[in-house]
Amino acid sequence: MGVWFSISSLILIVILIIVATEVLGLYFIFTVFIPYIGFFLFLLGFIYRVLKWAASPVPFHIPTISGQQKSLPWIKPDNIDSPFTTGGIIKKLALDILFFRTLLRNEKIELEASYKLLFKPSVLLWLGAMAFHWSFFYILIRHLRFFLEPVPSLIVFLQRLDSILQGLFPIIYISDIFILLSLVYLFIRRILYPQVKYISLFSDYFILLVIFGIACSGVLMRLIFKVDLIQVKQWFMSTIALKPALPKGVNIIFYIHLFFVSLLMAYFPFSKLMHMPGIFLSPTKNLKNTSRSKRHINPWNYPVKIHSYEEYEEEFRDSMKEVGLPLEKE
């Protein structure tokens, strides 16, 4: 259900945008109003959600350990998978967040006849996730050239690097190829693998399609339906200066691109996309394995009803005496 519903939702949105801009001429709403709403929902929602998480304490010290603890001096401890220093925790988080190291150890099981279990390495998801996130990030950075004046030389350099294939295929960015391929993979795996299909919700497909819409419209604007980038930059600079004006020299693809970006921003804080800031706060990931050497405080720790030794001895005094166990009260 989710697949078809998300695809039809996406098509419907595209039609709505076309009607609203080309037919009804609601340019102001689509180039000023909606982008502002999207941006502020993103900003405020993002902050709100992170603060809400931060407001809930971490009552217990519960890192998931994946390596040898630091115990006896002659046993080599694993400072990344069982980190005991701040440096170790930073390394571990960097590897997990920048390189998705956890996914790299993924494996899939297969059942051979007569209950024989096989474990096979499974790195496709890791590849897909790496290609997607990094190309997305790269494209974001590349877009800074629309937002910054003068354009920093680093961004110019990254853009040149990205277009290294231009000798072969004119004006194609490597990152564009990566993001489109990885999105196709991420979408198809949700349909192809029965288990993943079973858990996938409408929202899982929909968000991939929205990002796919952004990437496609971006590529189309670059290759076929060209827009006047100087005008777009002017429009953008005035928008961020809070002096909104209608963009000039653009076309319907631009409106679609802009709407999907706004939708993504507005949707972000209310969705699973919050995994981006969430991973930094994950208590199984960001705590050191120093549970027994450093005391962890639970802010809501409260006294509980216990069965004291006195009550215990009271109940069992006679039989304890009989077998000669020492007592507090004879």
Binding site: Q68, T102, I109, L111, S203, S293
Partner: protein, 535 residues
């Protein structure tokens, strides 16, 4: 147990059903659920809504305002646990965890995929606690809270052993254990508990141990062990109980002194402590290291755990040594100091034999017996004859909580290599941080849920089978009381001919004790292999 005889093997089918997971359909049949807690135990522990009921009943006799209780309970826990809130929010349903759960691998039931297990609760969270879920409902995976959902929770939160294997593979470290813990706490608010957890917990509250052994019976079981050791070794060991002023308080799971094959580990401890002349004591009041309260709620865990520090204080010991147990060590390593610390009346643990300072236990002041023994061996304080274990080709099973909760991986392996001649690792996908649960942890080791247990134990047994066929392994060593109790029937079903033993049983066999007679049997009373019988 006749339902799961060897002749009638079960089907493992990984094809998901046609019907969506959003439908809360649960079928309770013999073998797939645990008996509910007796109201007697619930009353003894002051828990809500004690009553007689059965999962197969139509009416579970929930309190009238059960829905309100659950929603309030979720709200409270969202504010108390960042883990809970965060893990409900950030799952992207990538599916990396799907085939990491032993219950999924053994059953193929998609609701046993960690992601869906969490989704069972997450869908309620979405519907009642998020704006988007309130508006878009089913599209975003939000569900209405109904009694059927409560039944579904009961089924699936008691088909999770809180082993945290999925957490190792999750890119965000989402720990289903945290979700299951919350799910069980919520069910408790309605008076839905299982007896295999609450009876031991109530026993422990009253008598100091899960098995409900009163102090005089503890004394006689110790006396029995002393006799048995005398027979095997010719040495009379001294076993102090409730002795004030000892240097060390020793606490182990109660199964060690009452169940088999735990008993031989118990003999191993006693022999070891005698040989090194340890100034220590057992306690009858704190005669349990394990903590079945931990499988029920943080509060009950804390109530049971409090005995350890208070007894250490009463007896005036310097520090605490802990025996072989899995979840006991999760609680001691990650919770005890927070629950019932600070243990400022104790001293930083130092081995009286080697002088080694256990800096890793600086604050909690409790040392794992494997850390302690490995240190003894490294410092040449023990005379060992590994050939006395030559009967065994040994593999080592990391218990979940020891591996993923503590990171205690090399200490037991070091010991085994020193007390046994033949040691073989299982495939690396199934050991250390990737170790598979025995399938019966977190209070699921009952008899009535044998089908669930056998399915859950399948991946572990499968790895044992591999080393059995490849190297002729005939003994699985482990350091978890639940493993020792529950693996023998599981292995017997899946891979017969492999015994289960504690690491300190092997230590006890190999340990050459001053003044001992020539040993003819191991601690089990089985004859030692003679020179010419050795392969």
């Amino acid at each position: 147990m006749e339902e799961v005889s060897k002749d009638k093997s079960f089907k493992i089918d990984y094809t998901p059903p046609k019907i969506s997971w959003m439908e809360p359909l649960v079928e309770f049949h013999k073998g797939n659920y645990c008996y509910p807690a007796s109201p007697k135990h619930e009353k003894y522990l002051d828990l809500p809504n004690p009553r007689e009921w059965q999962p197969t009943d139509e009416d579970w006799k929930l309190p009238e305002n059960w829905k309100e209780i659950i929603l309030k309970g979720i709200g409270e826990r969202l504010n108390k646990y960042r883990s809970f809130k965060l893990f409900l929010d950030i799952c992207v349903r990538c599916g990396a965890c799907a085939d990491k759960c032993h219950f999924f691998i053994g059953s193929g039931d998609p609701k046993n995929m960690p992601v869906l297990r969490a989704e069972l609760l997450r869908s309620i969270y979405r519907r009642y606690f998020t704006i988007s879920g309130k508006i878009f409902g089913k599209f975003l995976g939000a569900r209405e809270l109904t009694e059927d959902i409560i039944k579904e929770w009961f089924s699936y939160f008691y088909q999770c052993t809180e082993c945290r294997r999925c957490s190792v593979f999750c890119p965000f470290g989402i720990d289903t254990c945290e979700i299951t813990m919350m799910g069980r706490e919520l069910l408790n608010l309605l008076g839905i508990n299982i007896n295999w957890i609450l009876e031991p917990a109530a026993n422990c509250y009253r008598t100091g141990n899960h098995l409900g052994i009163p102090p005089h019976a503890f004394k006689s079981t110790v006396d029995f062990a002393i006799d048995e050791l005398k027979e095997i070794t010719g040495v009379e060991v001294e076993v102090p109980i409730n002795r004030k002023g000892a240097e060390i308080l020793f606490i182990s799971p109660s199964a060690d002194y009452f169940a088999s094959p735990h008993w031989y580990t118990f003999l191993g401890y006693l022999l070891l402590f005698h040989e090194i002349g340890l100034d220590y004591t057992w306690s009858t009041y704190a005669s349990e290291g394990g903590n079945f309260g931990f499988f029920h709620s943080a509060e009950l865990a804390k109530r049971l755990n409090s005995k350890i520090y208070s007894e250490a204080k009463r007896l005036g010991v310097k520090w605490i040594l802990g025996g072989e147990c899995g979840h006991m060590w999760r609680v001691i390593h990650q919770y005890m100091d927070t629950y019932n610390g600070p243990a400022d009346f104790l001293e930083e643990p130092v081995s009286p034999i080697t002088g080694t300072r256990f800096e890793n236990a600086r604050s909690t002041k409790m040392v794992h017996i494997c850390e302690f023994t490995a240190d003894l061996i490294k410092n040449n304080k023990l005379k060992l004859d590994p050939s006395r274990n030559d009967k065994w080709k040994v593999t080592y099973h990391d218990s979940c909580n020891i591996a993923r909760g503590v990171g205690l991986l090399e200490e037991p392996r070091y010991i085994i290599r020193n007390v046994c001649n033949e040691f073989y690792e299982m495939p690396e996908n199934t050991i250390k941080e990737k170790t598979f649960c025995c399938g019966s942890g977190s209070g699921l080791g009952a008899d009535e849920n044998m089908e669930t247990r056998l399915r859950g134990g399948f991946p572990r047994a499968n790895a044992v089978k591999y080393v059995k066929e490849k190297f002729g392994v005939n003994l699985l060593a482990c350091i978890c009381a639940i493993d020792k109790a529950t693996l023998p029937p599981l292995l017997d079903y899946w891979v017969s001919g492999v015994d289960v033993a504690g690491v300190h049983e092997l230590v006890g066999n190999a340990l050459v004790v001053r003044g001992e007679k020539e040993r003819t049997t191991n601690l089990r009373g089985e004859p030692l292999l003679k020179e010419n019988e050795k392969v």
